[in-house]
């Protein structure tokens, strides 16, 4: 996914393998994408995040018919930057570099979402957070 973000030509192909993949009413692949979108839509991901969110959104929309209705709805919301409050709070806690106890608490809340959906969202979030948030930190510091 990460390398595909930088090669838009292959993004659609990679996404078609991720969307609808795995167990659950919202298949795991979709949940991971929600986590990724939460990172991209964070104001702390700056212009790079906004650009990649738009890229991912346009690649995603044509694939929504291939997954379950429930999941397609979730992805459509996430692609427009709308997330559950627990996920949103977690992104904030990661950005604010809150102390570990608090991060732990927010992480637990997200993991409790659905059966495995929450954990899958965390996967996506944590895989992408370092690339986008660090860039932004460096830019602010520079």
């Amino acid at each position: 996914m990460k390398s595909a973000m930088y090669a838009p030509a292959t993004l659609g192909r990679v996404l078609s393998k991720v969307v609808g993949c795995g167990p659950g009413a919202t298949p795991s692949g979709d949940d991971v994408l929600v986590g990724i979108l939460a990172v991209l839509h964070s104001p702390c991901s700056g212009d790079a995040g906004a650009r990649d969110a738009a890229l991912l959104r346009s690649a995603l929309l044509s694939l929504l018919a291939t997954t379950t209705d429930v999941s397609a709805h979730l992805l459509r919301q996430a692609a427009s930057g709308l997330f559950g409050s627990d996920l949103h709070e977690l992104v904030r806690a990661v950005v604010a570099e809150n102390h570990l106890g608090e991060l732990d608490d927010k992480l637990r809340r997200v993991i409790k979402t659905g059966a495995t959906s929450g954990a899958d969202m965390c996967e996506g979030l944590l895989a992408f957070a370092p690339c986008y948030f660090n860039q932004q930190h460096e830019r602010v510091a520079a």
Binding site: V18, G20, P23, P27, L82, N98, V140
Partner: protein, 519 residues
């Protein structure tokens, strides 16, 4: 070896249930491979790749595919069928009661309900509010983007039923001690408030609490209520309701200046209501508001002071905000330490009424400012993301909150903006608010304190010293712990004022001092 499958149209199961069923099916003796998944295109392709067959199904269907001996496959499908048709689908037994999904359902469940809070997207809000009104409930509409025609229709109908519509776009209310929307933990007491502005109501109620008094009810009307079109229907209703309420001894009205004829109607009603009334129409000359039994205030905190005085049986005084000797000394000290380029105030607000009040106070002090929401006489900011000269902005306004949470909920953008202002060599004062209470961020200054620290260090390295002036709107009983928030801000070098008006007055004083240096 055979290959068998079954699909269930429109059956949703969560992943743990599906994996549990998969594991049990796979455990059937003679089964070689099994998969129980939602039939998304990718999953169907994976089934084909795993040699479990090709399927022509819809993504909402649930597929069970198995391979193994003929008998084992039959047995496995039977097992899956039993598990999937059982309650909970192999997962935990469900004990959730049927959720209430309509106002009518809530009413059927408990007919004593008499109040509905509507917080759905604007397009649907009026319809929901009307349902509640027809069931005899008072309504608070947190929703915004409700057409003014719908607002008028709702309020006219409510008026015929002797019911109140608070809102649309009513963010703050405290009804019989129950905080709704963005509201603080306020002691119950003798003062009733009707407010057309959310943060205005928060400021007045918080101050009443801090002065040791309390609030009977704080009713909201929404920002359009006092326009000529709506005619103040909700404020008039709220005023009459508080006049009739035995717990309420004093009434405070909070609004930006209403349309002229509406102001007249409201003040006439206030005059005849039989209880002392304090009216703060921010920006209007208090003398034009004052009449028999109605006391005009000039700013929010003053309105609270006057209401508390009346509740204590004293004569209300319209005391001007004075800069104490200690504050005066600090103002001079910080202004004298600034670099020659530093001239301007940058007010970065999350509360709309705080932004409004700060602009008024600066304008009176000879410092007109640019804003995204300018008060009369101030100029509109061309690019809301770029401050020019004196700039005082409301980051809770639509242009900043499209598709994002309000800065009271998520202050990230506000913090970023403050860093940008400190980096500007012309900035002398950064003025801001922190709003506590229910609805607001649980930790509103986590990012702010570190932002101020790094921004200040950077400015200092460039030979500049910026004055940070803040106000924390909240009570010590609020969930965020006001005392701790104030202490943290002070330790970060912020001058923390006791009201929004005082913060703005300090800020204006620094700017006036700077004018002496840069002339």
């Amino acid at each position: 070896m055979s290959l068998k499958s079954k699909f269930y149209p429109n059956l949703y199961k969560d992943s743990v249930s599906l994996m549990t069923v998969s594991a049990k099916v796979l455990a059937v003796p003679g089964i070689e491979a099994a998969s129980v998944v939602m039939a998304s295109a990718t999953n169907v392709e994976n089934l084909a790749n795993a040699g479990l067959g090709k399927f022509d199904v819809h993504p909402n269907d649930l597929v069970v595919a198995v391979s193994g001996t003929e008998e084992a496959c039959d047995e496995a499908l039977k097992t899956a069928d039993e598990l999937l048709s059982a309650k909970g689908g192999g997962g935990e037994e469900s004990t959730v009661q049927q959720a209430v999904s309509s106002i009518q359902m809530a009413m059927t469940k408990d007919p004593t309900h008499n109040f509905a809070l509507v917080s759905v997207p604007g397009d649907y809000a009026a319809a929901e509010a009307m349902k509640a009104l027809r069931l005899g409930m008072d309504v608070m509409m947190f929703s915004d983007n409700v057409p003014v025609e719908s607002e008028l229709a709702l309020k006219k109908f409510a008026d015929t039923q002797n019911l109140m519509v608070m809102g649309p776009d009513c963010g703050t209310a405290i009804v019989s001690g129950v905080p709704l929307g963005f509201a603080n933990v306020i002691r119950r007491g003798p003062i009733g408030v009707v407010g057309a502005s959310g943060t205005g109501t928060q400021e007045v109620t918080v101050r009443i609490h801090q002065l040791g008094s309390g609030v009977s009810h704080a009713l909201g009307t929404g920002g359009h209520d006092l326009s000529a079109k709506i005619g103040g229907i909700s404020m008039l209703h709220g005023l009459k309701a508080l006049a009739a309420d035995p717990e309420t001894k004093v009434i405070a009205l909070v609004s930006k200046p209403p349309a002229k004829e509406v102001a007249e109607k409201v003040l006439e009603t206030a005059e005849d209501c039989g209880k002392p009334v304090v009216a703060i129409f921010l920006g209007a000359d208090p003398d034009t508001v004052t009449r028999k039994g109605v006391h005009g205030a000039a700013y929010l905190a003053q309105a609270a002071d006057m209401a508390v005085a009346l509740a204590n049986g004293q004569q209300p005084q319209r005391k001007a905000i004075t800069v104490s000797n200690d504050a005066q000394r600090k103002v001079k000290e910080v202004a004298a330490a600034m670099a020659p380029t530093q001239k301007y105030v940058r007010g970065i607000f999350s509360g709309g009424t705080f932004c409004f009040e700060a602009q008024l106070i600066h304008a009176v002090a000879g410092t007109p400012a640019f804003s995204n929401a300018p008060t009369a006489g101030n100029r509109k900011l061309e690019n809301v993301n770029k401050s020019v000269e004196h700039t005082i902005i409301d980051m809770g306004d639509d242009e900043f909150t499209q598709g994002r949470p309000h800065p009271m909920i998520d202050p990230t953008l506000r913090d970023t903006r403050i860093r940008a202002e400190v980096a500007d060599p012309t900035t002398a004062v950064v003025l801001f608010d922190v709003v506590l209470g229910y609805g607001s961020s649980a930790d509103p200054i986590a990012g702010l304190v570190s932002s101020i620290g790094t921004a200040r260090a950077k400015a200092q390295a460039e030979g500049r010293r910026v004055a940070f002036i803040g106000y924390v709107c909240g009570t010590d009983d609020d969930p965020q712990n006001r005392a701790a928030v104030v202490a943290l801000l002070k330790s970060a070098g912020v001058f923390v004022a006791s009201s929004n008006a005082e913060a703005a007055t300090w800020s204006a004083a620094v700017i006036t001092e700077r004018k002496g240096f840069t002339k």
